[in-house]
């Protein structure tokens, strides 16, 4: 039973292509992610990592290939897009919290507006999530009054409030001062341990080695190599993978 659940493929990307004008940012990218799996995407800057995960919740539109999220095909159909988005959380490099709302309002907005959750229930859930990310005392502050690490933890809580099945992370620690990186990675690791399906773009190799089930290496819009952390750090196949790893490690 549980074997069955974990082997279910919750994200299927088949030959996904994406152009910005003339420029091809994604070239036949294929990847299958099982439920509860943690996949880390690495690669040089400009290789298409962000574009790839942003296609999965339609922040970017792919022009060829298929994307199926939790059995829902990603098409132009607005209902499909909305359904996929409500099952998929996303955490951005720049946090993108809503500066005019308090921390609590940031977290409760979508559950109240989209899930039609009752206000009190949304509050309770939000406080529980703030406890989980370790900053319940910041509930009534505005994002501008928090440190970067705290803001990113609020952003994670905001996504989790929609009870997503999948979480997408786009370089969640790249905009943080070094001393705040760990507090965010800790939250992400805890999340991974609870069985969340996660797709994480990051340069944090320690996190990748410890938490990832698989690592994907992208270069120039292509998925070059996919494998376990062990595979990557001991016998990567491609020259470019080795070169990249040698530069970053």
């Amino acid at each position: 039973m549980s074997e069955n659940a974990t082997s279910e493929e919750i994200i299927i990307c088949q030959d996904v292509c994406k152009w910005f004008g003339e420029f091809q940012a994604l070239k036949d990218c294929s990847l299958r992610v099982r439920a509860q799996e943690v996949v880390v995407i690495i690669g040089p800057s400009g290789s298409g990592k962000s574009t790839f995960i942003r296609c999965i919740n339609r922040l970017e539109e792919h022009q060829a290939g298929d994307i199926i999220v939790d059995g829902i095909p990603l098409t132009r159909d607005v209902r499909n897009i909305e359904q996929i988005r409500s099952e998929t959380g996303m955490v951005f490099q720049q946090f993108n919290l809503f500066p005019h709302l308090t921390v609590l309002e940031n977290i409760t907005l979508a559950p109240i507006q989209v899930r039609k959750m009752h206000k009190d229930e949304a509050h309770e859930t939000a406080m529980a999530l703030l406890n989980r990310v370790g900053i319940p005392e910041q509930a009534d502050k505005h994002p501008g009054q928090l440190s970067g690490g705290q803001q990113q933890r609020v952003a994670i809580a905001r996504s989790l409030a929609m009870s997503p099945k999948i979480m997408l992370f786009d370089e969640p620690t790249s905009a943080l001062d070094p001393e705040m990186i760990k507090e965010v990675l800790d939250v992400m690791q805890e999340l991974a341990e609870t069985g969340m399906t996660m797709l994480v773009v990051t340069h944090e190799m320690g996190f990748a080695r410890e938490v990832a089930d698989r690592i994907v290496f992208m270069d120039a819009g292509e998925i070059m190599e996919v494998g376990t952390p062990e595979h990557f750090f001991t016998n990567a196949q491609h020259e470019r993978t080795k070169l990249f790893l040698s530069q970053i490690l």
Partner: protein
């Protein structure tokens, strides 16, 4: 040991003490060097001279008798004296509405609330006013305070939205009270709008011009950003057309051309309403451009975060984009609204008797020949009071909303 260290630390943290004396301030700001000192002396001389001449005129030459003699005209134009109680009734309600809105929006009785509350009480000290007027002003203040306190017991959820509904309700009720509903006789006989005048008309044109052009302007600003080409083109065409035309020409068009756009046999729309429509259409285009500035200041990340959470375009606009965009342009919008208030004087040129129109009739009256200076000074003063109040209020709002942002 520790205490010594603490005190030395304390001292180093303290800023160097500033001299707060008047002399010190003057030395630093007005007489810092030779050129600055010379400019200060010259400027002071000019200001002094102008003030002296004005004061001499005000206290000796000026014939102030024209103001009390025409006081009712200046305040309400030809609005019949026997129906003037309806104006007071509308003001009572306004006091109550402001008190209630204050409760719904802020919930606290702050200094600003106290100032607003004190305005009618301060007005009672104007020496011109009769005891009846003073009594009315007392009721207005009482209605404000009463509504604020009783508002706490109303079964309404505190929110800006509720306050907006209260305001919209008031607009309708006020119009019914001023205009009347019972024909020639009855409890509230009709007072045609052409009789409305003076300060009453100026304030009404500005008030309705602002409140009605605002939503239209916001809609146009959003329309200009729309993904649908038809909506975008209509919005852009409208905005660019209106912005290329002076208000006065719109006012004339409203008087002579509105009929062309209405179906045959449509009853003649009254002239004040035509002027108001022109003002609203005009102001909306400028509101749209100002709001667009605010919309452009919102980063892509805000849209993306909202989308990623599954918020629809409509909800994203209402909850995320507009609140931030409008906040960013409050000062510009208030500036525009102040201009609008002053621009309402143009209706005098199409034959309406707003504050300026009334001033022109008074000074043209043979009984009051040669009193132009006095009348126009008072008109200017009235405009200044309301304009300054608006700009002061906007600065307060900015300060309050600025807290905790970004």
């Amino acid at each position: 040991m520790t205490t010594a260290a603490d005190t030395s630390l304390d001292r180093s943290v303290m800023p160097p003490s500033e001299r707060r004396t008047l002399l010190g301030w003057m030395r630093r700001n007005l007489f810092s060097d030779l050129l600055n000192s010379a400019l200060t002396v010259v400027a002071a001389a000019v200001v002094f001279l102008v003030a002296l001449l004005l004061l001499r005129w005000a206290l000796t030459t000026a014939q102030w008798g024209v103001i009390p003699a025409n006081f009712n005209l200046i305040m309400r134009g030809q609005y019949p004296a026997e129906e003037a109680w309806r104006l007071w009734l509308a003001l009572y309600l306004l006091g109550g509405v402001i008190g209630l809105m204050w409760r719904l929006i802020s919930g606290k009785f702050s200094t600003a609330a106290l100032i607003v509350f004190l305005i009618p009480l301060a007005l009672r000290e104007v020496p011109l006013f009769s005891w009846m007027t003073r009594f009315h002003l007392l009721v207005v203040a009482g209605a404000g305070a009463g509504a604020f306190y009783l508002g706490a017991y109303l079964p309404i959820q505190r929110s800006v939205r509720a306050a907006v509904y209260v305001l919209l309700g008031y607009l309708v009720v006020m119009l019914v009270i001023l205009r009347g509903y019972s024909g020639d006789a009855g409890p509230m006989p009709t007072v045609t709008t052409i009789l409305w005048g003076g300060l009453l008309l100026s304030l009404l044109l500005a008030f309705f011009g602002i409140t009605l052009s605002f939503p239209l302007g916001v809609a146009l600003a959003l329309g200009r950003q729309s993904k649908l080409p038809a909506i975008r083109i209509i919005s852009v065409t409208y905005i660019e057309f209106i912005r290329g035309v002076p208000l006065i020409s719109l006012l004339f068009m409203g008087q002579v051309m509105l009929q062309l756009f209405l179906p045959d046999g449509f009853p003649l729309v009254d002239r004040v309403l035509r002027a108001l429509v022109a003002i609203i259409l005009f102001s909306a285009a400028y509101t749209a451009e100002n709001v667009r500035g605010g919309l452009q200041s919102i980063s892509r990340g805000q849209y993306e975060a909202a989308q990623a959470l599954g918020l629809s375009t409509y909800r994203t606009t209402m909850h995320i984009i507009l609140p931030q965009a409008l906040r960013a342009v409050i000062p510009v919008l208030v500036g525009q609204f102040i201009s609008l208030f002053k621009d309402t004087t143009l209706v005098a040129l199409v034959g309406l008797f707003d504050l300026l129109g009334i001033a022109r009739t008074i000074t043209a009256n043979p009984d009051w020949l040669g009193t132009q200076q006095e009348v126009f000074v008072v008109v200017a003063l009235l405009f200044w009071i309301f304009s300054y109040t608006m700009s002061y209020a906007s600065r307060r709002i900015e300060q309050r909303l600025g807290v905790g942002e970004r």
